[in-house]
C-alpha cells in the first residue's frame, strides 16, 4: 500500500517536471540555475566567515525551522486531500503508508537544506551548526505535526465555484476571472472598477500627503494600494482557466482576461504618481511598472500552464523559475529578459496545444 502511494505521487511529480521542462534547452536552464544557486551560496558562505557564533546559530535555525514546518504541513495536507478525494484513499489513511510518505517528503526536503547547511558549516568551520540545523528542522516539523489540518477541498467541492454569467462568452469569462480576483460573486466588474478608482485616489492622496514626510514612508504609502490590488488579482481559478483552451479561447484572450485588473491598476496608480509630483516620483513610477509587470507576467504564465496540469505543480514550477530568473537578472540582466521571453513563449505553446477532444 505504501508503495502504491509513493508510486502515484512519484509518477505525478515526474509528469509535472516533464511537462514543465520538456526539451534539452529546459534542462540546460535548470542546470544553469543550479550552478548559479551553488555559486551564490558558496559566495555567501565565504563572505560569512567573520560572523560570530550566536548569529550563525540563529541563521541555521532560521533556515531549517520554516523548511521543516512547511514540509510537514504540506505533506500532511496532501495526505488529508488524498484520503478524502483520491482513488488511493485507503493507502493515504493507512499508518505505515502515511509514515513512509512523510519520511520521504522530509528526506527530499532535507537534502538541499543540509547540503546548504554543510556548505556554510564547512566554510565557517563550525560542524556544530549542522546539529543546530537538524534540531531546528525537527522543531519545525514537530510543531507543524501537532497543528490540526483543515478540511481538504477539491476543486469541484469549492462552494465559491462561480456559475457562468449570461451574455457573450468573452464577457462571461472576464466576469468569472474578476469574481475570483475581487472575491465578489455579484457585480464583480463594478467592484473591480471601485478597486482601481480606490487605488488611484489613495496613491494620489499618499503622494500629496507624503510631501512633508520622509521619502521611504511616502514611497511605501504610495505603493501600498497597488500591492493590495495586485495581491487580489493574483487569485486565479485554476480549474476554470485550465478549461478555457478546450472551450476554444486563445492564449491571448486568456492573458488579457487575467491581466485586465492589474493592468487597470497600473494605469491608475501610474497616473496618480505622475499627478502627485513627477520629479520626486520617478522611482515610485518605476517600482509600480516593474511590480505590476511582474504580477501580470506571473498571472499569464499561471493561466497558460493550468490546462492539463495540476495547479499546485504549476505554481511550484513558477516559483522555482521566478527565483531562478531573479538570480539571473542580478547577474546577467539581458539573459534574464531573453529567458523570460523564451519561457513565456513555451507556456503559450503549451496553452495553445489544448483543444476540445472527443473520441
Amino acid at each position: 500500500m505504501a508503495n502504491r502511494l509513493i508510486r502515484y505521487e512519484a509518477r505525478l511529480f515526474r509528469r509535472s517536471v516533464g511537462d514543465g521542462f520538456r526539451g534539452p534547452a529546459d534542462i540546460a536552464l535548470l542546470v544553469l540555475l543550479a550552478i548559479i544557486a551553488f555559486a551564490w551560496l558558496r559566495d555567501r558562505a565565504m563572505s560569512a566567515r567573520t560572523l560570530a557564533l550566536a548569529p550563525e546559530a540563529f541563521w541555521f535555525a532560521a533556515l531549517a525551522v520554516p523548511v521543516g514546518f512547511t514540509v510537514q504541513r504540506l505533506a500532511s495536507q496532501r495526505l488529508a486531500w488524498l484520503a478524502e478525494h483520491s482513488p488511493l484513499a485507503a493507502d493515504a489513511l493507512e499508518g505505515r503508508a502515511r509514515r513512509l510518505y512523510l519520511a520521504i517528503a522530509h528526506l527530499i526536503a532535507a537534502v538541499p537544506v543540509f547540503a546548504a547547511a554543510s556548505l556554510l558549516a564547512t566554510a565557517l568551520d563550525r560542524p556544530a551548526a549542522l546539529a543546530i540545523a537538524a534540531a531546528a528542522y525537527a522543531i519545525g516539523a514537530g510543531s507543524a505535526s501537532i497543528m490540526p489540518i483543515r478540511r481538504a477541498r477539491s476543486a469541484a467541492a469549492r462552494d465559491g465555484s462561480p456559475a457562468a454569467d449570461p451574455g457573450s462568452g468573452g464577457r462571461a469569462v472576464l466576469a468569472l476571472v474578476l469574481r475570483r480576483q475581487t472575491g465578489r460573486r455579484a457585480q464583480a466588474a463594478t467592484w473591480a472598477m471601485l478597486l482601481v478608482a480606490g487605488n488611484f485616489a489613495l496613491t494620489l492622496a499618499a503622494g500629496w500627503w507624503g510631501t512633508a514626510q520622509p521619502d521611504a514612508l511616502r514611497v511605501a504609502m504610495m505603493l501600498l494600494p497597488s500591492l493590495v490590488v495586485l495581491l487580489m488579482s493574483s487569485r486565479l481559478d485554476a480549474f476554470m482557466l485550465g478549461f478555457l483552451p478546450y472551450a476554444g479561447y486563445t492564449p491571448a484572450f486568456i492573458a488579457a482576461g487575467v491581466s485586465a485588473l492589474p493592468a487597470a491598476s497600473l494605469a491608475a496608480s501610474a497616473m496618480a504618481a505622475i499627478m502627485a509630483g513627477p520629479a520626486a516620483n520617478i522611482g515610485v513610477l518605476m517600482i509600480l511598472v516593474l511590480g505590476h509587470a511582474g504580477f501580470i507576467l506571473i498571472g499569464i504564465a499561471r493561466a497558460w500552464l493550468y490546462p492539463g496540469r495540476q495547479p499546485r505543480s504549476v505554481d511550484f514550477q513558477l516559483q522555482l523559475e521566478a527565483a531562478g530568473l531573479l538570480a539571473i537578472a542580478v547577474l546577467l540582466p539581458p539573459l534574464a529578459i531573453a529567458g523570460l521571453g523564451w519561457r513565456l513563449w513555451r507556456f503559450r505553446l503549451h496553452c495553445r496545444s489544448f483543444r476540445w477532444v472527443q473520441p
Binding site: 502504491r4 508510486r7 502515484y8 509518477r11 505525478l12 509528469r15 509535472s16 511537462d19 484520503a83 478524502e84 478525494h85 483520491s86 482513488p87 488511493l88 484513499a89 485507503a90 489513511l93 493507512e94 499508518g95 478540511r151 477539491s154 476543486a155 469541484a156 467541492a157 480549474f239 485550465g242 478546450y246 490546462p307 492539463g308 496540469r309 495540476q310 505543480s313 489544448f354 476540445w356 477532444v357 472527443q358 473520441p359
Partner: protein
C-alpha cells in the same frame, strides 16, 4: 456483507451535514439514496467509505465496529472518487496500473467485463485525464471503485455527465453486478433507477433519514411509477419546506 449505521452524525465545516442517521444494508443488492441537493448524501456516503471522519454514532461492517478505523472502511469499501479529483496529468491506463490492475474486465469471464463494456472508456484510455470531458472522466472514476474488486461499492451520483447510452448501459451493468453478489449503494437523482433496479431505498432530508423504502414499496412504485414519483417529490418538497 452487512453494513449497519447507528445514530451517525457527521459535521462538515461546522454544521451537521448528517444527523442521527440509522439504517442497515444487508447483503447483496442495490440500495438507492435519494435527497435534495445539500441534504447530506455525499457526506453520508463519504463517511461510510472512510473518506471523512465521523463525529458521533457507529458504523459496523459485518458486526465489527469500524467507526474509529477509517482505513479499514476505505479498504473494505470501493468508492468512486470525484471525477474532478482524478490526476489530470496521467492517463486512465496509468491510473489503473497504479491502483493495481492494468487490464481489469478485459477477459470475457471477468465479472467486471460488462461494466467495462458499458463504460466504454477504451478509446480514450491512453489519453491524459486532463484532456477528457466530464463524462469521460466520470466513466473512469466509476471504474476506479471496482479495481480492487471489493464486495461493497459506493457511488455518489454515478450517472452525472454520462450520455444517455452510457448511462443506460452502466445502470444495467451495475444492476447485474448487484444481482451477482455486489452490495451497491448509490446516491440517485432519478426515481426511475430507484424503482427499476434498487432493492431498497433511503430518503435523506436535512441530514436525516426521513423515509425507508423496502423491496415491496419499490415494486409498487415500479407498477405505478407516476404516482410513486409524485409522492416522492411531494415528500421531498415538504421536507425542504417548499410546499
Amino acid at each position: 456483507m452487512r453494513i449497519e449505521v447507528r445514530n451517525l452524525t457527521v459535521f462538515r465545516d461546522g454544521y451537521p451535514a448528517v444527523q442521527d442517521a440509522s439504517f442497515a444494508v444487508d447483503g447483496a443488492g442495490w440500495t438507492g439514496l435519494v435527497g435534495a441537493n445539500g441534504s447530506g448524501k455525499t457526506s453520508l456516503l463519504r463517511a461510510l467509505a472512510g473518506r471523512i471522519e465521523v463525529q458521533e454514532g457507529a458504523i459496523l461492517i459485518d458486526g465489527t465496529d469500524l467507526t474509529a478505523d477509517r482505513a479499514a472502511r476505505a479498504r473494505a469499501i470501493g468508492f468512486a472518487p470525484d471525477a474532478a479529483a482524478l490526476p489530470e496529468s496521467l492517463s486512465g491506463r496509468e491510473l489503473f496500473a497504479i491502483l493495481g490492475d492494468a487490464s481489469p474486465g478485459l477477459e470475457p469471464a471477468d465479472p467486471l467485463a460488462p461494466l467495462r463494456r458499458a463504460l466504454a472508456f477504451d478509446p480514450f484510455l491512453d489519453r491524459r485525464i486532463g484532456a477528457l470531458s466530464a463524462g469521460m472522466k466520470q466513466r473512469l472514476a466509476i471504474f476506479c471503485a471496482f479495481l480492487n474488486r471489493p464486495t461493497v461499492v459506493i457511488l455518489d451520483e454515478p450517472f452525472n455527465w454520462l450520455d444517455p447510452i452510457c448511462a443506460f448501459d452502466t445502470r444495467n451493468a451495475l444492476a447485474a453486478l448487484a444481482e451477482g453478489g455486489l452490495t451497491l449503494i448509490t446516491a440517485l437523482h432519478e426515481m426511475n433507477s430507484l424503482v427499476r433496479h434498487c432493492r431498497s431505498g433511503l430518503l435523506l432530508s436535512d441530514g436525516r433519514i426521513s423515509r425507508r423504502l423496502d423491496a415491496k414499496a419499490l415494486a409498487g412504485g415500479a407498477r405505478d411509477f407516476a404516482a410513486f414519483e409524485a409522492e416522492m417529490i411531494a415528500g421531498l418538497r415538504g421536507e425542504r419546506g417548499d410546499a
